[in-house]
Symmetry: C3
Subunit: 259 residues, 3 copies
């Protein structure tokens, strides 16, 4: 390991871990086997809000350069980040979370399994995010309905939902199972399951079964054409959720037909 690295003797570091130059690893850090942490990172940034709980990084994770992780958050195996990522305290994430470069997770958030954030996503405090959610660049969470106040209405994103580039999610909104939010939208009210919305305020323009481009060989929900971008270990959960999306589509069609 490089002589330019500063690792606290209190850090618990697994086997076959690489830590890059000019990186600081603090106390109260648990790093799983096989992790790779790049240069110029701060791992386990101390803060009193974490109340002594450690930062836990699951096995086989990759944290790219210039990233900062606070004390008091826990990540499942296979975390992968871009560069310059900031994650504050008390966040919990499942397996295979990917966080794009320069994303900023403000703390107290929960992520399911196999969630993917692109670059510069800003996740507000207390957000609840399901499994297989996609957040494209510059998605922006909010939580204070009358800023500044002490009110906090957390945003919730259900499984397999997709939020495209530059969307603002207003305080307290819920985005449903398998829903799609188009680029640049402002989501001011809940998005029902399998609905596709766009604009300001975001309004329904179609439902998921009609959204994807059949001429390009795509089929909803997206695991039908994008399964290979995930490891096989994720497929059983993926298939279970895709099945629930199918059910929601069927129910929606039945309701539409009976009108």
């Amino acid at each position: 390991m490089s002589s330019f690295t500063k690792i606290s003797p209190g850090a618990r570091i697994g086997r076959n871990v690489e830590i890059g130059d000019f990186t600081v690893v603090h106390d109260d850090v648990v790093i799983g086997d096989g992790c790779k942490i790049d240069s110029h990172c701060v791992i386990g940034y101390p803060n009193p809000v974490a109340q002594g709980r450690p930062l836990v990084i699951g096995a086989d994770s990759t944290i790219r350069s210039h990233s900062v992780f606070y004390q008091g958050s826990t990540f499942g195996d296979g975390l992968t980040t871009g560069h310059g990522v900031l994650v504050r305290e008390n966040t919990t994430a499942g397996r295979g979370l990917r966080i794009g470069s320069n994303s900023d997770i403000e703390g107290d958030a929960t992520f399911g399994d196999w969630v993917r954030l692109h670059s510069e996503v800003h996740v507000g405090k207390g957000a609840r995010i399901g499994h297989f959610v996609w957040l494209y660049p510059r998605v922006q969470f909010t939580n204070d309905p009358f800023p500044p106040s002490h009110l906090c209405l957390e945003v919730a994103i259900d499984d397999m939902a997709v939020i495209a580039t530059g969307v603002i999610l207003m305080p307290g909104v819920r985005v449903g199972l398998g829903a799609f939010v188009g680029a640049g939208s402002i989501v001011r009210s809940d998005v029902p399951d399998i609905h596709c919305v766009t604009g300001d305020p975001a309004r329904t323009f179609t439902t998921l079964d009609r959204f994807v481009s059949f001429e390009h060989g795509l089929k909803a929900p997206w695991p039908r054409h994008f399964r290979d971008a995930y490891p096989a270990v994720s497929w059983p959960l993926m298939d279970e959720i895709a099945g629930r999306v199918d059910d929601a589509i069927s129910k929606h069609r039945s309701r539409a037909a009976s009108k």
Copy 2:
């Protein structure tokens, strides 16, 4: 102090100052007593535009990791920043400025006392910002009305105004005393005192006395329900400005009643 820190002998550093690993402190820097500067920062980045004027950081300030401060700016006591902040030359700020992570202050800006910027705020060159202003994540200042040109119309934000997430402020606009700009708006003309605007172009949807949520126990202006988030030393100025907001509300009601 860490052996991994690079501090110029020309820097003037107060008592009880902590400086983190892998941080560079240049010449022409004055750091007040009791400051804490994290790892991986660049303090006093040299540039000819500063014309030799130093960077001055007031007492009891905290600068978090990966931040860059240029030569030639001056900050009052109690500056607090997030991570990855960039502040260029010739900016002047009062007491208690807070700058969120990854914010970018382009230079020649002025900030009053007790201003708060959330994450990723982009303050354009020459912006003039009053006391107790709130800038939420990704607020974006502009200044060139016919880009690219040499014209520069600076944006001005008056005391106690609140600009919510993702707002774009077009060149030369003035946001009035106690005004509120809703998330995702594009402000293309001046916002009068105590008016609440939203949309593109931002238009008035109410005035401040009708905006806040009485059912939640809130009362305008925001110091009426958010005073405890500031230190007592700030309260006399806060109360003075809140009184001016009250006066503006009264005047607005009188004018409305006389129509």
Copy 3:
């Protein structure tokens, strides 16, 4: 050179190159004469996608602190960046590229000569950008029309086009020669040469000959009033392209007159 710098013996570094503290320079890097690389950078970040091709930085370039450049990209002479810039693999750029602080270039992009990006521009994979293009803060490229999918429709920006602050460019759009896109727009279809568009969806509000402010002494295209912001070596190409913009304006007027 500082004893706090980590430079691989495999890096090929020209004459009169300065490299700042706490910077890592990897193998497979070619740095031209007279370059200045700041502190806390990562130059030549290894990645298998680059397939061993080096990172090439042209002569007399300046890379500011906390920037990350991947293996496998090539930049002409006079590259200048802000702080915290990220450039991934397989990007090719001409002379005099300027990249603003915290911008993120995702890879496989091509830039002509004398292009300028302001802060926090996000260039998506595979973007094709002409000569003398201006991208203002937070311009956001996209490329997947049905996210997530394996489809990739690259955005193309023609010579001398100007994209103002906060614009989202939807997958596959082409912005024409000398075109102007107003702040906060969402570009959902192609923008014809010398057209000025704004809004969501971006629509034409005028053409370039009617856009600029004659009262302020400005004249389209912008090199007519902004030539001095570029070095003389760039002027022949600038004048050639400005001439093509003039031709496009003439053709547009002829067509309009003949209707």
